[in-house]
Symmetry: C2
Subunit: 387 residues, 2 copies
C-alpha cells in the first residue's frame, strides 16, 4: 500500500531525500545490502555500529549505483550512516531514522531473539503523551514524555511510575527514538514480564525547555527568566527539578501509586549519575534505583573523583536500613565501556559495605544496545516485592 | 549549553551525522549560509523550496568546505536537501529535520510576519498524545495524535474538536512534523484568535496501523487480519473509520462537545478529498468542513471526473437547508497548484447553487506553506457562530 501510494504520490516537496533507491535491505540470512545512487561520487562507505561495521567500502556499478552486502549480522537494533566523498550523511534509501539530540542516524533492525523486544507487535500499545509541565525551579514550561500502559485509560487503577533519564547530548525523546522504551514496555507488559507501569521521560538538560527538534516544535528562544546553562551534573538542581516539580505534576495529573514503593528512577550515562545521586539521596521518595553506564565513578572526564561517603552521607553506615529501603539497586555497564573498571570498583566497595545491588555486564561499549538491554532487564524487576 | 554539552559529549554512536560544520545559518538580513565539509566531493548543490532555491551550486574552499550564501529569503518555514555528487541527502549541519511519511527534509525557518505562527513561543503549550484506538472497521489498533489545548487537564470544560487529515505519502505525524499544527494552535489560542479546541490527527492510509517511523515505534508487520491495501479514496471506508471508530473513541476518552457544532473536519490534498467527501455527506456529524488543495475536482491523475451531484446527492437541491447546517465550508488552494482551475470551477458551480463557502487563494503550489496558512486562517473561524 505504502509503495503504491508513494508511486503515485503527488505532493511537491523540495527535498524528496528518501524517494531513492531502496537501501539497508535485510536478506533472509541476515545480510544487509546497502545501496546509494551517486553517479559522480568517488568514495562511499558505510559506518555502522555492528562488529566490522566501520568504514565498509561500497563499490559503484556502471549506472552509478553504489552498493555493498555485509556478512550476516547479529540480531540488534543497529545504527549507521554513510560517508559520501568525505561527508557523513544519512542513507537516503532507508526511511528508518533515529535521533539523539542534534544527531541523527539510520536505524537497522536485524530480527532475532536479541532484538525481539524492540519490534512493535500487534498487541495493545501504551499511550505516549508529550506534556508541558510548569517548572517552578527553572521558571519555565518544560516538556516531558509520559507513557501510560495499555488499559490505563479504561480503568481506575493506580500505577507505579518509572522516572527515566537520558544521556549527555540526548533529550526527552532519546529513550523513545533510540531506546524504543515504549516498544520494550509494550512487549514486556504483553508478555506478563513487567508490571504495567507509567514511564516518565524527562529532559535532563536543565538549560533547555524541550528537545531541539520536536518533529515540528522547535527550541524555545532563551529567555531572561531561564537560568543560564545549569549543569546537568548539578544534582541539587536535578533533585529540585525531579522531586519538587516533575513528580508532583505527574502525580497530580496521572493515577500513580504515590509511595516510595511505587516509584523508580533510572538513567543512562549522564542520566545515570542524576538517577543515582537523586535516587540514593531521596530514598524517602524512590525505592527502586537504576544506573546504566554512569561515568560518575570514573572513566569519563566529566566528573570529579568519586567518593561514596560524600555522595551519599549515611547510606553506607547502616546497610541494613539502606537495604530495607532499597527494593532494587540496579547497576549495568557495557563490557567494552571505559567506565567498566570504575563501575566494578564501586560495586565492590558497595558490596563490601553490604549494600545489596544487582550488577549486570552486557556486551558492548557506551552505547544504546547496552541501555536498551538494561531497561529490558530492569523493568521486570520493578515494583515487585524483592529480587 | 547545548553546544557545551555537545563539545564534551561522550556518547558513542556509530553515526554522528550532525556533529558537522554548522549549516543553514540565517544572517540578520535573512540570507542563509549553507555549509558542507566534503573534501572529496566534485559537486554539491542546495535544493530548497524557496524562490530560486533549486539547484543552487555550492563552491569548495581549499580545506574542502563547500558553501553558498543565498539572497535574503522571505519569511517562511522552508524545506531543502543537498545534492552531493548526484545523491539527494540531508544537510548534516542542520539538526532541524521534518518528516512526511518516508521522506525527510531539512527545515529552515526564516523569521518574520509570515512565519511567526510557526515559531514556538514561551507560552502555554497544548499536550500531544499518541494514542492507539481500536478500529473495528480495519480490525486492528491504529495510532492517532490528539492535541488538547492548554488548560484542558486542569479544568472540566468540554471542547470542540477538529479532525485533521494528511495528504498522500504522509501519515498521522505529518501535520505535526511538516505542518507544525500544534505550534500554530498554541499560538492562535494564546493570542485569543482561535477557540481552545482539541485536534485529532488521523492516519488516513487505511492499510497501515501507524506511521512507518514513529521515532522508535516502527511499522507493524502486515497481519492476515488487516484488509489488503484499502484505498484512501474509498470514502465509504473513510466514513466508517472516522465516524464510526475514531470519533466515538475520541468522544469517550476526551471531554468533547459531542454535537455537530462542536465538530470540524478538514484535510489537505488526499485528506482534503476525504474530509470533503465525509464531511459533506455527514452534516449530521460535522458543521465545519475544510478542504485544502484537493485534487478531487481535477488537476490530479488520481481521481475520476468530479460531479457535484453524484458526490453529495441532495446537498445542492436545498441550498438554504445545506447552508443552515454548514457553519463553515472552507476551501483553499495554492495559486500555482495545477488543481487551482478545477477548484475555481467547483467553487463557481457551488456558488451558482448558492452554497455558502469561503475560498482562499494562497501564493504557492501543492505544498506545505499553503496548508499551514490554510490551517492558520481556518482555525480562527471554527466553532464560532458564523463567518
Amino acid at each position: 500500500m505504502r509503495t503504491f501510494l508513494a508511486t503515485i504520490g503527488l505532493i511537491t516537496l523540495a527535498s524528496l531525500a528518501h524517494a531513492q533507491v531502496r537501501s539497508a535491505e535485510v536478506t533472509s540470512d541476515r545480510r544487509v545490502i546497502f545501496r546509494l545512487k551517486a553517479p559522480q561520487a568517488t568514495e562511499v562507505r558505510v559506518n555502522g555500529n555492528w562488529p566490522g561495521g566501520r568504514n565498509v567500502v561500497m563499490t559503484k556499478d556502471a549506472a552509478g549505483l553504489w552498493s555493498v552486502t555485509t556478512a550476516p549480522l547479529p540480531a540488534e537494533l543497529w545504527t549507521y550512516s554513510f560517508s559520501l566523498d568525505g561527508a557523513a550523511v544519512l542513507d537516503p534509501g532507508n526511511d528508518q531514522v533515529a535521533r539523539e539530540g542534534r544527531r541523527y542516524s539510520n536505524v537497522l533492525l536485524i530480527p532475532g531473539a536479541a532484538s525481539a523486544l524492540y519490534q512493535p507487535q500487534r498487541i495493545a500499545h501504551g499511550t505516549v503523551d508529550a506534556v508541558w509541565y510548569p517548572s517552578g525551579n527553572l521558571k519555565t514550561g518544560r516538556r516531558v514524555l509520559v507513557y501510560t500502559p495499555p488499559g490505563y485509560e479504561q480503568g481506575k487503577a493506580k500505577y507505579p511510575a518509572l522516572y527515566l533519564l537520558h544521556g549527555r547530548g540526548g533529550d526527552e525523546e532519546s529513550w523513545i527514538s533510540q531506546g524504543v522504551a515504549n516498544v520494550i514496555l509494550d512487549n514486556l507488559i504483553a508478555q506478563g514480564k513487567a508490571k504495567p507501569m507509567i514511564m516518565v521521560i524527562l529532559n535532563a538538560n536543565w538549560g533547555e525547555s524541550a528537545a531541539l527538534n520536536l518533529g515540528g516544535t522547535r527550541v524555545l528562544p532563551a529567555g531572561p527568566e531561564l537560568p543560564e546553562a545549569p549543569l546537568s551534573s548539578d544534582y541539587d538542581m536535578g533533585e529540585r527539578e525531579i522531586v519538587r516539580d516533575v513528580l508532583p505534576f505527574i502525580e497530580s495529573r496521572y493515577r500513580t501509586q504515590a509511595t516510595r514503593e511505587g516509584r523508580a528512577i533510572a538513567g543512562l550515562s549522564m542520566g545515570a549519575g542524576i538517577a543515582l545521586a537523586v535516587g540514593l539521596k531521596r530514598l524517602d521518595t524512590f525505592a527502586y534505583v537504576g544506573q546504566f553506564s554512569s561515568g560518575l565513578f570514573g572513566g569519563s572526564p566529566a566528573y570529579p573523583a568519586f567518593d561514596l561517603e560524600s555522595y551519599w552521607p549515611g547510606l553506607l553506615k547502616d546497610p541494613a536500613a539502606t537495604n530495607k529501603k532499597l527494593k532494587l539497586l540496579f547497576f549495568s555497564c557495557g563490557t567494552e565501556d571505559p567506565r567498566m573498571p570504575f563501575q566494578e570498583k564501586t560495586v565492590a566497595a558497595m558490596q563490601s559495605h553490604k549494600i545489596n545491588l544487582l550488577f549486570k555486564r552486557y556486551p558492548g561499549g557506551h552505547e544504546w544496545s547496552v541501555w536498551r538491554t538494561s531497561l529490558a532487564e530492569m523493568a521486570p524487576l520493578l515494583f515487585k516485592t524483592g529480587y
